[in-house]
């Protein structure tokens, strides 16, 4: 479980937001929606353990990412994947090389396993046979889907996606949404940063939106619960999110 407590951030001497609370449990898919330049990417970095918040703390599985051991922070990053807003494209870099890099991070895979898995994942995101295509020649949508496939290669337990649906484009949003919900059912914890929740998703969200700072938080998918626990669900739905001090 990823828990953010009263998290605040300052950028260029200006308080972007403070008092953001969030709790994303196993099998949950959260969308953090916010206007441009509201600090969504910054929040993502903070939640991933890559940038210390200016106030508050982030706790994963009961241990702080910033005040706990560096090894805990490293283990968390090893278990998490991140899809950036725009996949950097060095000249000449192919998709296969990105998967190779992901395989290096994962370790212990043979070339045969890597190739098979790469083919499966690329076909899952609609990029079949694009292994040797240069990243720089891909469209924004293709790059976003390719970056997503590269992260899925390592089967991360936690997944952070920055403007993924917006980059993937309207025609891919549904398919990617279904894929993300399927991943949540496989007990992955998914956090997405978007400008707004896609219209098609409004009906599917599990809880009413709550605001935290400049952000609106939506819990789109929750893990299946045993029938006897359902009564308690209503109580817990509101608990992961609280109002921000600024909000």
């Amino acid at each position: 479980m990823i828990e953010a407590f009263r998290v605040g951030a300052v950028s260029r001497g200006r308080t972007l937001w403070e008092g953001v609370d969030l709790a994303a449990g196993t099998g949950e898919l959260w969308v953090v929606a916010g206007p441009p330049s509201s600090g969504k990417t910054l929040l993502l970095h903070i939640l991933r353990g890559e940038r210390r918040p200016d106030s508050g703390d982030v706790v994963v599985d009961g241990e702080s990412l910033y005040r706990g051991s560096p090894e805990h922070n490293r283990r968390f990053r090893a278990l998490s994947g991140v899809v950036p807003e725009l996949l950097p494209a060095e000249p000449g870099k192919t998709l296969e090389e990105l998967f190779l890099l992901s395989a290096l991070a994962l370790g212990g895979l043979t070339d045969g396993e890597r190739n098979a898995r790469m083919g499966d994942l690329l076909s899952l995101v609609g990029l079949s046979g694009a292994e040797n295509v240069e990243v720089s020649s891909l469209s924004v949508s293709e790059r976003a889907r390719a970056a997503f496939a590269v992260e899925l290669f390592r089967s991360p337990r936690y997944l952070f996606l920055d403007m993924f649906l917006a980059s993937a484009g309207r025609e891919w949003a549904d398919r990617m949404g279904a894929l993300l919900r399927a991943l949540a059912r496989e007990e992955k914890t998914i956090l997405m940063m978007e400008r707004r929740l896609p219209d098609e998703w409004q009906a599917q969200k599990a809880s009413s939106p709550l605001s935290a700072g400049p952000f609106t938080l939506y819990r789109v998918a929750a893990p299946p619960r045993a029938p006897k626990e359902k009564g308690r669900e209503r109580q817990s739905q509101a608990s992961p999110v609280s109002d921000s001090a600024e909000g």
Binding site: R48, E50, R74, R75, F76, R77, A78, L79, S80, G81, V82, P88, E90, E97, L100, L101, S102, A103, L104, A105, G107, G108, L109, T110, D111, G112, E113, R114, R154
Partner: protein, 295 residues
Amino acid sequence: MSGPSLWWIDWSLHRGPMRRETAGRFLLCFLAALYFLAMLLSGGVNRFLSGQYTISAILHVGVPDDEGTGIAGKVAALPPVLEAKYQDPEQAWAEFLAAYPGLESLRGEGENPLPGYVEVRLRPGWMTDEGIAEVRSALEPVSQVEKILTGGDVMRNLLRMKRWANALLWSGFALVCVVFLAFLVMQEKARATRLLPEVSFLASRGVPEGQIASMRTAGAVVAGGFVALLATGLACAALFLAARHLPLVRVTVGSAEELLDAKILLPACLFLLGAAMLQGLASLAGWRATIPKGR
């Protein structure tokens, strides 16, 4: 079939530039190995000098040939001596006439006025004052020896010049090594810079930078050792062929068969080890210069 490893991360991700850089590295390593082996075999100018210079022990007139041969045999057993050959009076006379034709009249009534002598050639490594002194001190007590010709002051000057020439040649090798090292560090900095985005990707996915650095360094030592082994092997082959077909190389550098001598093999192995370690250290230095600790 094995998968990618952090040991070969540069080769896995940047194969094209790595091939080109390794070709350049191989060429420099080959030149350094060729220079080093040639210096080991020749001892600088020692071999050339030992081929040109001999110590002559002139015997008294009338010393029998078997005694002259015996003296040559004993001198040949001395550590500094490569070869000691007895020349009987008739051979001495023939050499004299070859050098000064038309002086046959000096041999009145058929008697040979020249004595026999022992010609001593020193080993290349013993072309020193000490080597000459050791041969001289071994010959001086021998009663049959009338005079020992070692070159006198000319030889002392020649040995001094030899020391300077050798120092100059070894400085040349040191320069090749410095150029090799500078080339390595520049290459490794470029490699680390090229690898920055990938390192950043891996670090943000929980792969410790220290682990990447150490495994990459280990890979550089192994790959560097392999490059050095190939380059040294090629240098040996080049010396072998050159010594076989070019007399000048045979005279100044020596015979390639001597490469199998332990005196050459051991330093050659140390050269290989040094080249591999140097490449590993250069890899680490390039990494540290580009990717500071705790970035």
